[in-house]
Amino acid sequence: MACEDAFTQFLLRMGDNTLILGHRVSEWCGHAPVLEEDIALANTALDLIGQTQMWLGLAAEVQGEGKSADDLAFLRDAWDFRNVLLMEVPNGDFGRTLMRQFLFDAWHSIQLGRLMKSSDDRVAAIAEKASKEVAYHLERSADTVVGLGDGTEESHRRMQEALDYLWPYIGEMFQSDETDAEMVKAGIAPDPASLREEYDTLVSRVLTEATLTIPESRFAHKGGRTGAMHTEHLGHLLTQMQWLQRAYPGAKW
């Protein structure tokens, strides 16, 4: 695999994660349990969409086919998306949405910390900007997971169910492949597997404080970050997200 191709794939993985999660979080608009949460969810979605503009903007530049970040977001089909499956799963209740956010934020914050030392200055600059936002996302999602895990009997039960449902989607974030090997070789990005230990420490500290039980299984669904097999949910999400661009090709918005 040529290094440019691997680099593009890597950037798509970063940008598609933030795009798909940003979209999912934005579905909450106007429906959150309390006004402060509506504001926080919109703010999180906004940050993620802003990061998407940077990652996909750079992906388009490296790809060199004259495309824009919008072209990549709105005109690719499901098999060309490179986000982990965790981002695609439907929001479920507020508990599942915040648990998913926490499980991703924990990975995201560690990943961005490493990317700030990337050999590619553009990657390092994006990571630096994004890491400030993600530090806040993590603080908030961790606090909420603790608050609801260690809240009432019902909130505890719902958070445990959310964790059990989402846990099999965690492993994909740490699976290394050829693309990652190229990125490690070029000093652009870390080996995903190398993030797991720090992740487990962080996640288990928060989940323990939340009085939740971490599932023992290490089984991991996969296929998102390679594009080999997404969930059925992604097609529906794209149908909605891409509709205007698809229905009115070439229009300027």
């Binding site: 934005s26 349990p33 504001i39 996909l56 603790v146 909130s155 205007l244 661009q245």
Partner: protein, 325 residues
């Protein structure tokens, strides 16, 4: 204008206190929460600020309807930022209402069970992407007409909330105009969307100012108290005068065959909205009333376990802190 048909409460306070209170208002002083105020002033303000706050919250729904379908990343980001601002406006306004002795939960319950209203405009649907531009251009434009003078309103916390809100609303209006301009200058299909949005939202926007002055029975007391700063018809005229040239610039047609510049008055003559439709919407028979209120009730009911859970955790944490000390 997010407050419509606010009924002024009759007030039965000591005439001397009332006269002194009115003198303070006439002298341009701000009334603060701890100051004496007539009961009618307090109740009218709760109703007005509450209706404004509820409008910000319910207003998230028609705009949120397009967040997941926004056509570019930038448009999606702008819309998210705008809806987030609106939730923030709701928050300032609920805080302002709280200073008058009504909690956010109480006032929320009143919205959810239909005792309090929100602006009629949010009972209309957003049907194509140009509606999002039109909401910024027309709806926020109409809201600003009312909110700019309310920065000088007599109640301190309301006035200060309005100063913050106006800064953000004028940005919303500009982005709305920019979004609809892109559509009006775009492909024939986009131009059709823009015209369709204007056709549907023009009269509902005029209704935002409330009934005609001759039918508006609650204005005099509120104007004396500087809770209401201009009459409904004054603001509506100002809005028409500002908006018609903008529509012309966009190459869009205002859906009013009788609209024309009146040289003598120095204003546009325009047709009144269908007031029977307005009163139907106020009574709950607008195109979206039932769905909007159902969506808010669902969010509140589905969120109960979250609010309870976070509260229970906060109590446990406080108890543990006390135990450790």
């Amino acid at each position: 204008m997010y407050a419509q048909m606010i009924k002024s409460e009759a007030t039965q306070d000591d005439p001397e206190k009332l006269a002194a209170f009115q003198a303070r208002i006439d002298a341009g002083e701000k009334i603060e929460p701890k100051d004496w105020m007539p009961e009618g002033y307090r109740k009218t303000l709760i109703r007005q600020i509450g209706q404004h706050a509820h409008s910000e919250i319910v207003g998230q729904l028609p705009e949120g309807n397009w967040i997941t379908r926004a056509p570019t990343l930038e448009r999606k980001a702008i819309l998210l930022a705008k809806v987030q601002d609106e939730a923030g406006h709701g928050l300032y306004l609920y805080c302002a209402a709280e200073t008058l002795g009504v909690s956010r939960d109480e006032i929320t319950e009143m919205l959810l069970d239909g005792r309090m209203k929100y602006s009629s405009i949010f009972n209309y649907p957003t049907l194509n992407w140009a509606d999002i531009g039109a909401v910024g251009w027309l709806v926020d434009g109409a809201a600003i007409m009312n909110q700019v003078p309310l920065q000088r309103t007599s109640f301190g916390p309301y006035s200060r909330a309005m100063i913050r809100i106006c800064k953000e609303e004028s940005f919303h209006q500009r982005q709305g105009y920019d979004a609809i301009r892109k559509m009006a200058e775009g492909t024939p299909a986009q131009k059709k969307m823009a015209q369709d949005a204007l056709n549907r939202l023009w009269y509902p926007s005029l209704m935002m100012f409330g009934p005609s002055d001759k039918d508006s029975v609650h204005s005099a007391q509120s104007m004396a108290w500087k809770i209401k700063m201009n009459t409904n018809d004054e603001l509506r005229q100002k809005f028409v005068d500002q908006t018609v040239p903008q529509a012309e610039y966009l190459g869009l047609t205002v859906p009013d065959p009788d609209l024309k510049w009146n040289e003598e008055r120095g204003h546009y003559d325009y047709s009144d909205p269908d007031w029977s439709e307005f009163f139907d919407v106020i009574k709950g028979n607008g195109p979206c009333n039932v769905d909007r209120l159902a969506a808010r009730n669902k969010a509140w009911d589905d969120g109960e376990w979250v609010r309870d859970g976070l509260l229970a955790h906060a109590k446990k944490k406080a108890a543990r802190k006390v135990a450790a000390e």
